[in-house]
């Protein structure tokens, strides 16, 4: 019997070893293209936009009118799971042929790891603004993605409430503050914001911040290492976030995304500092809502700003068996025709400049983007490090609203985080 036990045990060990051997660490076995052009190929698109499945089908149908021999399948996964699923697939040499890239650091990480195909020879890339391309430019200076859309974050407001209290869109920071006072006296919650979910705080700082640190000039200076986060300019942007808390809802520290959205579309709150993707959601929740937005007026005598970033790009998997076909598809994504279709179908701002939209609000927004855009600095430049500097800002602002941190300590912590990985600040 003893012998049997030993035998089983050894058998089991051997079996584990075999299992461990099964996992291969293939970094990239480029098998080249097997597109003979005779029979049709099937491409898969990976994305985190499950809600856009129908709209993507429209895009694919349009593409297939001209390329009937290329089948395209849009296979999205859940937003919060997407990164994990994609990373696992890429590591084992698999993954979709066309990859929806997260903007800036996480996407560039994939490019630097060699999982993506360089697209420098793609026609139509010259249309895009340099800033837009930067969202998917690898550290080697090559272009790895075709930018899809621009997201913005700004103050939305309820036109009905503004009319009722005969309020105007503010042109200066003082006007903005007095407007908040009027709303508060009128029995409304001025700004619908909660601090329970950290990402809402970095997003609203993305709106409020540029008005105090002075928009693009400061961004240029800090990315050149000529100033830092403990500087006067940046400090005032944190102070402003602190100053505004008296206009937040009651118990704001316990409110999350769903709560503040509800407060806004039901008309309890007058303003809603959030991203452009909420337009569709708000309209769905309350079709009668008279939705407007205004650019953030500057507190330091500069121009008003709309905060923007590239929300995603499309890249080609270096391990794809149909690279040429995949390149055809992303090439299609650089055309005016696609831009027009995208704007109509998705109600988002296309990354291709100069596309008109039939939706008044979206159209006004894209015009504002072309005239007064400032980058969402924390996402565009400071989403590196571990924890990321953006995440540090979120945690620290949360601490500030809970009374655990002073605004000075917040700025100091952000500086420390950035200095730990961001070369210009070292």
């Amino acid at each position: 019997m003893k012998k049997m036990k030993a035998f089983t045990f050894i058998g089991f060990l051997a079996f584990i070893l075999i299992l461990s051997g099964c996992s291969s660490e293939s970094g990239g076995d480029a098998s080249g293209d097997s597109d003979s052009g005779e029979d049709s190929v099937t491409l898969t698109i990976g994305s985190w936009r499950t809600e856009d499945k129908a709209s993507y089908q429209e895009v694919i149908d349009k593409f297939q009118e001209e390329n009937p021999d290329i089948n395209v399948e849009f296979e999205p996964s859940k937003n919060t799971e997407y990164n994990t699923i994609l990373n696992t697939a890429l590591k084992s040499g698999e993954g979709p042929d066309i990859i929806h890239l997260r903007p800036y650091a996480p996407g560039i990480e994939l490019a630097d790891a060699g999982y993506l195909e360089p697209l420098d020879d793609l026609e139509g890339l010259d249309k895009f603004a340099e800033d837009t391309l930067a969202a998917s430019k690898g550290s080697d200076g090559k272009q790895y993605g075709v930018p899809l859309n621009i997201s913005t974050t700004q103050m939305f407001y309820n036109k009905k409430i503004f009319d009722e209290l005969s309020l105007e869109e503010p042109k200066t920071w003082e006007e903005f503050i007095s407007l908040n006072e009027t709303l508060k006296k009128g029995g409304y919650t001025p700004i619908s914001l909660g601090s329970k979910e950290g990402w809402l705080l970095s997003l609203s700082h993305g709106i409020i911040g540029p008005a105090h640190y002075g928009g693009n000039e400061f961004v240029d200076k800090i990315t050149a290492g000529e100033t830092d986060f403990t500087s006067e300019e940046f400090q005032t942007s944190i102070d402003a976030m602190d100053e505004l808390k008296k206009y937040f809802p009651e118990n704001y520290e316990g409110l999350g995304m769903e709560d503040i959205r509800t407060m806004f579309f039901t008309g309890d709150a007058a303003m809603f500092p959030l991203g452009s993707w909420e337009i569709e959601v708000l309209r769905e929740m309350n079709p009668d809502l008279e939705l407007g937005f205004f650019p953030m007026p500057s507190a330091v005598g500069k121009d008003p700003t709309i905060t923007t970033w590239v929300d995603g790009s499309y890249a080609v998997n270096a391990n794809s068996e149909h690279k040429e076909a995949a390149k055809k598809f992303v090439q299609f994504m650089t055309t005016e025709e696609f831009g027009k279709l995208f704007t109509e179908e998705f109600k988002m701002i296309s990354a291709i400049p100069g596309i008109e939209s039939d939706d008044q609000l979206v159209n006004d927004l894209s015009k504002a983007v072309e005239e007064m855009s400032t980058p969402y600095m924390m996402l565009v430049h400071f989403s590196g490090g571990n924890p990321t500097t953006k995440a540090t800002l979120e945690t620290e602002l949360q601490g500030m609203y809970l009374g655990e941190r002073t605004p000075e300590e917040v700025a100091k912590a952000i500086q420390e985080s950035a200095a730990s990985w961001y070369e210009p600040l070292q």
Binding site: M4, F15, I16, Y82, E197, N251, A391, Q398
Partner: protein
Amino acid sequence: MSHYNRTQGAENKKASTRTVSKTKKQRNWKRWTIHLFPIPALLIYGLFIVYPLFAALTYSFFDWKGIVRGEFVGLKNFKDLFTLQPFSDLFWNAFGHNILYFALQMVFQNGLAFLLAYVIYKKVRGSEFLKIAYFLPRLLSVIVVGFLWKLILNPNYGALNVILERLGLESLQKAWLGDPDTALIAIILVNCWYGLGFGVLIFLAGFQSIPQELLEAGRLDGANSFSMITRIIIPLMVPSIMIMTVLTFIQSFEAFELVYAMQGSQGEPYHSTDTLAVYFYRLAFGGSTGGATTAVGLGSALAVVLFLFIAFFTALYLKYMQKKQVDM
């Protein structure tokens, strides 16, 4: 073994059981086939439990650039986890929360479950109904439980604050899940509410397996109910208490689902609901907003530390309690 003994044994076997005698060949074959039956189970177990365990262990010895494996760095990840800021602060912060988790669950969930099980065991009126009522929350999925309590605890329209207002206790109103002093405790209490029924079930089974003759003997010897409980019932309940403690220990040190359902993966607000498992998830897979970078090496190191910790204490505790068991 001598030949004689063996035949003796065989004779006895023949007498005591009704097995038909088989040839040696058949018996050997049977011995062989026995080893074939666990193979499917071993496959699944090996593939989904043993292999990931070893994979995590190997990952933790490497440097990672995002999701690409770099050099072998030995114990550097472990060192960083305990010495590098902010990781070490976050680790001990989360560790403390797990200990609180365990302590509160032992008191509120298991203490209460023990009492309630005793009440049902004593056949109080309505005990059948109570048994079902306690177990009901357990039938919901954790995600649903999290969502429900999030609604109840909502600061502005949640049932709890509304009830407090009706009772004129406005001073007690809080942003329960937004205040770092109450957020974790609220989650733990929800977890106790959720796990109560399971505890009741285990303890009730324990009470019901106490032999009646022992209790009668005690009563005949004139023991009062206090010494009946302390001298007879509790010692005989040791196995159930042991099982519940171990299960609670493992569950509270792996606490993730409910925290994630109620507060997401960032340990919000202000790291006050970070548990080791939530912190691990954030390290290994990035945050929930899709924009965070990942630290596979550190995450794996944390997973290994967590595994060793739980395994060590569970083994120690079981060894200690086995000595205390009463032989029946």
